[in-house]
Symmetry: C2
Subunit: 213 residues, 2 copies
């Protein structure tokens, strides 16, 4: 079965950049697009950046249990549609979800087989610089740092922790996590197109002669 | 803690080639050199290809429990020295052991934290071709194929299974397994040099504020 990869980090660590670079250079993986009721910012495209929904539409999906998780932030709803992950899996494609730390835990609880990855800033000074440099008008740097300090201790509860000190290195690590998962023995069924039918039937039906003791 | 990676496969699948290429292009990992009582073949170098021992030396190590596993094949002893893996770990270096399937199970039993990787030939025809092309005088192709058919069903008992249909792809996969392991959260301690002390102390001492429910 294809996997869901959850990429999470304190705000400003660079998870969106890392995710974009991995999606660019790796095939067979698609980003899960968050649904939201907030207004699109200039340049944001529906279905690419977010799925923009009315509050009525969003609440309808909530009631039907169509979100892996959802949250209300400053009066706007955000949610992860279950259907995208299912659709990707059906098509043999992995899913990559970029999400805040609270949401990551909720999704992992719903899908324990998902692989969770925490992206760490190398230092708080660097994180502060990155948040300030984004230059969003509504960014409250001190408040974001305060939250980051509460989120960083959660890193060890994730399956993987990647330090974003050098973007290329962090991208390589996330790609490695995805590639390694693809050759885990529990995903062997997916690789069988690359195998001759005789080898497949040996794997499926044959008995391992070696004593494991 | 650095890890021991066990690479195993039916004879002729190409595990030595794959291992060499991974060791060439990845730092922080060293091959575990097998000890043997057999005579060196032309071109083989002591300490590089094998550790060549007298039967007396070998049996002395056996008695002192200095092998992770050992076996006697056609009158010659082969064994995996525990000390190399320990030495590498002490130096912060991962270990890569290339070994037959029986030996892989024995090592995994002794070191359950080791990561086991099975290399699969894409087809039995291809395996036969590879064995024949090696052109060892003493190679009995039919016998090796018979054993391979008994080993291939063991693949699913390994942590990872890599199909060696294209060498570069197989090398990438094994590298991904090693790199992914290095950013698993259980190995976070090893990465702390890349982190500022404030971040380290948050990870170590801080409490994850997020409810996991």
């Amino acid at each position: 079965m294809p996997k869901l990869f959850i990429l999470s980090a304190p705000s400003g660590t660079g998870k969106t950049t890392i995710a974009a670079k991995v999606l660019e250079s790796l095939s067979g993986i698609r980003r899960v697009i968050t649904a939201t009721t907030r207004q699109p910012r200039p340049g944001e495209v529906n279905g690419r950046d977010y799925i923009f929904l009315s509050e009525e539409e969003f609440k309808g999906m909530m009631e039907k249990g169509e979100f892996l998780e959802y949250a209300c932030v400053y009066g706007n709803y955000y949610g992860t549609p279950k259907s995208q992950v299912e659709e990707n899996a059906k098509n043999g494609v992995d899913s990559l979800l970029v999400i805040d730390v609270q949401g990551a835990f909720e999704v992992k609880r719903q899908m324990p087989d998902a692989i969770s990855v925490f992206l760490l800033p190398p230092s708080l000074e660097e994180l502060e610089r990155r948040i300030a440099n984004r230059g969003f008008v509504d960014d409250n740097v001190k408040e974001r740092l305060r939250i980051a300090k509460k989120e960083i201790p959660c890193a060890k509860k994730f399956d993987y922790v990647i330090i974003n000190d050098f973007i290329d290195k962090a991208v390589e690590c996330l790609k490695a996590v995805v590639l390694a998962s693809r050759c885990s023995s529990e995903r062997l069924e997916e690789s069988q197109r690359a195998l001759d039918s005789e080898v497949v039937s040996l794997i499926k039906g044959g008995e391992c002669y070696v004593k494991e003791t």
